[in-house]
């Protein structure tokens, strides 16, 4: 049984003459426990795909199935809770005037769940933060710590799927390593399914089973982790991305 199945997804913004087709025709399926990557250059529509999956965008067409259930444009709270999102910018994704505790309590209040304090403490422990952080404000945390809180917030509703939109690209390498490890641990422990957006091929290869390479609203290639590591990719664009993440290749030397 697939966890996520997407077929012929198309997303556009603005109606009328200014209509912009950002995602044109995208189909893929993700198995439970799998991590599916999305790479591509800025503006190609990666976040838009995630937005449609998460229920943030409404103007999509095609079919989306989550956990065997077809999803319509309007979602029930249960459907929303099934997948949660982690954003790129840890500085913008936490409410600057809410304490960490309040941020984490909020989803529990919305869904009317009990044992709130216990859950908050447990989820903080899960992401490796001390319970005393509940009283802090986001500006008192480092970027990595914030990203952990964001992950905790996503986890507290016990979702099946995490949608990760460049979760480490705003972080230092040392912190990135911590978060990547954390994501790996959680995936094992909670049997989570991930969709991971990144522009760093190394990160993708580290975490994903498969990756879709996106250009201008369409998938140009879907490659497995092995293919990436061995450099056996079909599309030239994928190759460019792979080269890019290895660093600078002096053109003078090449000429």
């Amino acid at each position: 049984m697939t966890m996520i199945s997407v077929s012929n997804l198309a997303v556009s913004f603005d109606s009328g003459d200014a209509r912009k087709h950002v995602v044109k025709d995208v189909s893929f399926a993700v198995e439970p426990g799998e991590t599916f990557g999305l790479v591509g250059e800025s503006g190609c529509g990666k976040s838009t795909v995630l937005g449609a999956l998460a229920g943030r965008l409404k103007n999509w067409s095609g079919t989306i199935g989550v956990d065997g259930e077809a999803i319509s444009r309007k979602r029930s709270p249960q459907q929303l809770a099934k997948q949660q999102m982690v954003f790129q910018d840890p500085f913008g994704s936490l409410h600057p005037r809410h304490t960490i505790g309040r941020t984490l309590l909020e989803p529990l209040e919305i869904h009317g769940l009990g044992q709130r304090q216990e859950r908050v403490e447990a989820v903080l422990r899960d992401v490796g933060l001390p319970a005393s952080f509940r009283h802090r404000f986001p500006h008192q945390l480092s970027g990595g710590q914030r990203q952990r809180v964001a992950i905790a917030r996503a986890l507290i509703l016990r979702p099946r799927i995490l949608l990760l939109d460049e979760p480490t690209s705003a972080l230092d390498v040392s912190i990135q390593a911590e978060i990547l490890n954390l994501l790996k641990d959680l995936r094992e422990r909670e049997k989570l399914t991930y969709i991971l957006v990144s522009h760093d091929m190394a990160v993708i290869a580290h975490l994903c089973n498969r990756v879709a390479v996106m250009q201008d609203g369409v998938f140009v290639e879907i490659a497995t982790r092995e293919q990436l590591l061995k450099g056996q990719v079909a599309h030239a664009y994928t190759r460019t991305l792979l080269d890019g993440s290895r660093g600078y290749v002096p053109t003078r030397a090449r000429n």
Partner: protein
């Protein structure tokens, strides 16, 4: 290159402090380094003082910052003793600076041509016409195809990669001898980054000038620079040849390297940096 070892910039024991509510914060502490006609990378985690160092050299630190040093010399100029007017004559003409994101670092309501030409007009006291010619030539030099048209565009009308090339032309048009580039490609896509860097690389080689390249991308610095300075908590923990980065000895540098996921050496788990208090003191 004989003058590679003839430093254009030399900094000795420079510290930068910011006063805050809970006492002064020392952002940069007692750092010393020389830069010759070479590409020197500065890496380090966020907040380690890279940008503060870059700005202190140009004396562009925020008004409340306090910079002290034993010596700060740029070619024949004593940067510590130079007046603001002296500095204005140096900035843009002899030391230039390229900032991270062209979207924010260009004036949104002036055409890009105007902004580039302004630099030459200011420093070389030439007429508008001549400045325009120089600008067009410079734009061509950074591989912009239709300079006449681009001259009259506004920053929001150009792409990120083009914006950064415009930034480069603006900062190199007066042929400075030192360039400080503060994360010049972090806002760009990998594909574009390669192109922009190669243009920068060419120009530097051609004019034989020094570059301070601030970045947090280890792979990039390793492949692009000649030498690397590694900063941690406002201090320089290690300086080495770029090609020898993989053989770094300092545990911090090593930690950074280990923490990096890699396509060539995939690992199941990444090493997590374990910081030691002694690094910040040494």
């Amino acid at each position: 290159m004989p003058d590679l070892f003839q430093p254009i910039l030399s900094v000795k024991n420079m510290s930068v402090q910011f006063p805050t509510l809970s006492g002064a914060v020392t952002a940069v502490k007692d750092i010393s380094f020389d830069v010759g006609r070479e590409k020197v990378g500065i890496i380090g985690e966020s907040g380690s003082g890279k940008s503060t160092t870059g700005r202190a050299i140009m004396r562009l630190q925020p008004a409340n910052a306090r910079v002290v040093a034993e010596e700060m010399r740029f070619e024949e100029v004593d940067l510590l003793g130079a007046s603001e007017a002296d500095m204005r004559a140096i900035r843009g003409r002899r030391i230039s600076m390229i900032l991270q994101d062209p979207k924010y670092s260009l004036n949104p309501v002036m055409t890009v041509g105007e902004q580039i030409a302004e630099t030459v007009i200011l420093h070389e006291r030439i007429g508008r016409r001549q400045a325009r010619q120089r600008t067009l030539a410079m734009l061509e030099r950074v591989h912009i195809r239709d300079p006449e048209r681009v001259f009259n565009l506004y920053p929001h009308e150009v792409s990120g990669g083009m914006g950064q090339r415009i930034m480069i032309s603006m900062m190199l048009i007066s042929s400075p001898s030192l360039i400080i580039a503060d994360e010049p490609t972090s806002a760009l896509d990998v594909t574009v980054r390669q192109h922009v860097l190669s243009i920068l690389d060419d120009l530097i080689a051609e004019r034989d000038i020094g570059l301070i390249f601030i970045s947090h991308d280890l792979n990039l610095v390793k492949s692009f620079c000649d030498r690397v300075i590694i900063m941690y908590a406002g201090r320089i923990v290690e300086t080495l040849e770029a090609c020898r980065l993989n053989h770094a000895t300092h545990p911090y540098t090593r930690g950074l390297l280990e923490a990096l996921p890699s396509l060539d050496h995939p690992k199941d788990r990444l090493q997590v940096l374990r910081r030691e208090a002694s690094w910040a003191e040494a």
